[in-house]
């Protein structure tokens, strides 16, 4: 069906809905198997929040172990049962927790929960479409994610525990049942879950790309799109091109685990016997994994970048600085994201020459990243800053992105990586830049678009408290970890007491654990604010509460399926016309025709 026909159909459908507004949609089609992109966005978001709480709680448990290795916490036994007998975490389960924390937050929260939510919500609303290119595929995307979630959740409760080989699940550790307890059924469930997740991600991503390319309303040229859409578009491109490679890596791993192949296995003696496998390469998996794994970092970062751009500009009452440079730097990051994966593998014994190429390409990413930072700074420069909660999180996003981005310059340089690799320096780096910073982008987006999602505001006071505890806590937790890393302290250690080189950091570890617990409760504050505000929050009374020029605010306060009651608005100008509208307002919406003699930007 061509776009015109589709639009026509959708318009028709929406008129139909409009005419029968008093008929409630059935509960199942409205809230469960919904094909409305806004409802699917909410499904992704709420599933993501539930996963985030689980993932964060896991980090509290293993931080208790790291902070207080000689103490017991009977409360843990209540939650974890046999895994924390007598209140002391079992090492095997410590590794399972670390693995699940990583998998859940990277994939289920910051991929599905982030772009699943905001690409779904904002792409149709901001490009002026009634829904996604294929609402049915969109629904499937959520339900594949849901099924993946179910498998992952089940794996938490099986006798041998969930996968425990790290979120990267390198073989042979993850391939051989003899190598660790989590490499048994837990790993099978992990692989099933992740394969379903890849399917979900592809269905979503293809839909986002198709929608951005084909479903834009009249006048919405590519260069009139808000930066959020550009960011979601490139996020989807990254996902579509790299997730299949990950899946191929998983398929080979499934073969090695179950069908006796030797893709990753060679010359192994384990469990008292030599395995028959020869000729495989354990490093091959790492190439396949990081070919997704690195773009994945940008899949997590780009939505935050897009939303921060939008929110900074909106609350500065000023256009984003260097729109075109922002788009070009997004393209630069997207292209380079595919060419740097091996910087995760500098110490695998790879060819030194190849290593130097990857150093060069990796440090090149600093250029588009720097451009983005400077553009954000100049966006708020000479602005008229309004500190909404969303704005604070967007500013926090920039601060954290700088802090975490700069340490990437250390790690991308192989001669430094050789010492810093797999130490706490890496943990500090990626938690600041793609953990906390991406979360800040997500929080900014939630606070900012909550009124569009639910027709109510979140509570501001709680939002401000949430912001300050989180940013202070994040820096307190991760800043000192850099020092531990420079001292060579390795990641994924259950206990440092026996290590002379590292055990002098024990006091610091205890401090970090205490802060972690405080920050965890601050996040619960957010969760409470979120869910209570859905039902009890202050009602939105104006169509455009943030005075934003973009199209999502031209829809009704409670948009139905189809988004606009009447025809889809036509777009006449770019998304950042923050200038005097001649009537005392400080912005002109995208759907306002050009005045006589006015030139389009």
């Amino acid at each position: 069906m061509n776009n015109e026909a589709m639009l026509h159909d959708a318009t028709h459908a929406s008129h139909h809905d409009h005419g029968h507004e008093h008929h409630e949609q059935h509960f199942i089609t409205k809230y469960i198997f919904s094909q409305d992109h806004k409802m699917i966005a909410k499904q992704f978001l709420i599933t993501g929040i539930i996963w985030a709480v689980i993932g964060a709680l896991m980090s509290v448990f293993f931080r208790l172990q790291l902070g207080f290795p000689d103490k017991t916490f009977p409360i843990m036994e209540k939650f974890l049962g046999e895994w924390a007998k007598g209140g002391k975490l079992n090492p095997e389960f410590y590794y399972a927790l670390v693995t699940m924390h990583g998998t859940i937050l990277v994939f289920f929260v910051l991929t599905a929960g982030l772009s699943g939510t905001f690409s779904n919500l904002l792409i149709p609303l901001q490009v002026g479409a009634r829904d996604m290119a294929s609402p049915f595929m969109n629904m499937l995307s959520y339900w594949f994610f849901f099924t993946a979630s179910v498998f992952m959740f089940i794996s938490l409760f099986i006798e041998t525990g969930p996968a425990s080989g790290g979120w990267t699940t390198y073989p042979p550790l993850s391939a051989l049942k003899e190598a660790s307890m989590g490499s048994g059924l837990g790993m099978d469930l992990w692989l099933i879950s992740m394969s379903l997740f890849v399917v979900s991600s592809l269905l979503g991503g293809l839909n986002y790309i198709a929608t951005v390319l084909n479903m834009r309303t009249t006048g919405m040229t590519m260069t009139r799109m808000p930066l959020t859409i550009w960011a979601f578009f490139f996020t989807a491109v990254l996902g579509v091109l790299s997730f299949p490679v990950l899946l191929s890596g998983f398929v080979l791993l499934i073969f090695d685990r179950n069908f006796g192949t030797s893709f990753y296995l060679s010359e192994i003696f384990i469990g008292g016997r030599a395995l028959p496998n020869v000729g495989g390469s354990a490093i091959l998996y790492q190439h396949l994994f990081w070919f997704l794994g690195h773009p994945e970092v940008y899949i997590i970062m780009l939505p935050g970048m897009g939303m921060a751009s939008e929110i900074l500009s909106n609350n500065s009452r000023k256009p984003i600085f260097g729109y075109l440079a922002m788009v070009i730097s997004l393209i630069g990051i997207t292209v380079l994201a595919f060419l740097v994966w091996a910087h995760h593998m500098f110490v695998t014994g790879m060819s030194p020459f190849l290593g130097s190429i990857f150093v060069l390409l990796t440090l090149l990413i600093a250029v588009p990243s720097a451009v983005k930072v400077f553009n954000w700074l100049t966006t708020i420069w000479k602005g008229n800053l309004r500190f909404t909660v969303g704005m604070l999180f967007a500013l926090g996003f920039v601060s954290l992105f700088i802090s975490g981005g700069l340490t990437g310059i250390f790690l991308g340089n192989s001669a430094l990586d050789i010492h810093l690799h797999d130490t706490y320096f890496v943990i500090a780096h990626f938690h600041i830049v793609m953990g906390v910073s991406a979360f800040f982008g997500m929080f900014a987006g939630i606070y900012h678009w909550f009124p569009k999602m639910f027709g109510r505001f979140m509570n501001n006071t709680l939002g401000y408290i949430h912001f300050f505890i989180t940013i202070i806590g994040a820096y307190l937790i991760f800043w000192p970890m850099h020092y531990e890393g420079v001292a060579g302290m390795p990641r994924r250690y259950y206990d440092f007491s026996a290590w002379q080189s590292f055990n002098s950091f024990q006091g610091l570890n205890a401090f970090i654990s205490v802060v972690t617990i405080i920050v965890f409760f601050a996040q619960l504050l957010f969760v409470v604010n979120f869910f209570v505000s859905i039902f009890r929050g202050k009602k939105v009374t104006t169509q455009n509460p943030w005075q934003s020029p973009t199209l999502e605010w031209t829809t009704p306060i409670h948009p139905g399926h189809g988004n606009w009651d009447g025809p889809i608005p036509t777009v006449y100008r770019w998304a950042y016309d923050y200038k005097d509208n001649g009537e005392g307002g400080d912005f002109i919406a995208q759907n306002v025709p050009l005045k006589e003699g006015e030139e389009a930007h």
Binding site: F269, I380, I418, H419, N459, V486, R536
Partner: protein
Amino acid sequence: MSVFILISLVAIVFGIIYQIAKASEYAAVLNGEEKVKQQTNKLMASLLVAFFLLGMYGIVKCHTALMQHMIPESASVEGVGFDSMFKTTLIVTGIVFVITQTLLFWFVYKYQSRPGTKAEFISHNNKLELIWTTIPAIVMAGLVVIGLKNWITITSPAPKDAQIVEVVGKQFNWLIRYPGKDGVLGKRDFRKISDENNVLGLDWNDKDNKDDIISQNGELHIVVNKPVKLIIGSRDVIHDVGLPHFRMKMDAVPGIATTIWFTPRYTTAEMKVKTNNPDFVYEISCDQMCGKGHYSMRGTVIVETQAEHEAWLAKQQSYWDVNNAPATPAADTAAAVASTTMNN
């Protein structure tokens, strides 16, 4: 049950906090929303600046508090390049960090919305953008050049006179093999591995193996000021030989031999004096997640003088002799075997 009580308690507390926060918003409505908005805006700008100032102070405090726990300067000649390069990178990124964060929070304060203020319509500035694209590119090029210079030094072939030692990881300890008098490591085959009498699967048909020494207590004996080349392997899963004091690290991959080489600068005895720590010991950490005992996969490096090293070597029995010479086990070999069984 108590978990449910705990969870419901937490829920009630949060419920109360929410109600208080909500009440404060109603109060805001009563006091005139516009005015409260302005006050909040001012308060937030000040709080952000306070956060920035306290943060900068905290960074200094953190630095002075943690530097005393740092490991000493590089104990290998090749790692000296790391130390200086780290410093250079730290200075470069430090400058960028301070400038950008200062600008961010300064703008936050300076351009906060006040009654009557307006934003300027500025959409781009090609000259400015060109400048801040070019400068990072040039700085990065500089860092790449320094980095590659060091990288080439580290990854170049080991000097011909380097001592050769094989380090093999297994769950969860390190096996270390010295080539013996002939200076050649014999062939090994994973099919011949036996935990009782052939931990590395040495091929006894290869005569080069007969004098090879295997130490199972994870002690790597090397000579000060003499390059050492480690041939690294693994018996089961991927491990990683981490030598933080020497600023070196290399994966141990089953089926693939990897290598690193370096030249130790200080003997263990010298380090004891240098660090004022009579118990100082160089440690080998496993830096690649390898299973439940990953955190306990500890080895040590003993850097000694040539004379000490030779004396130590003379006391070692070859692995062939340990397993085949009846009834004459040297005292320390027995100790080594005992400690291995403990490790297992």
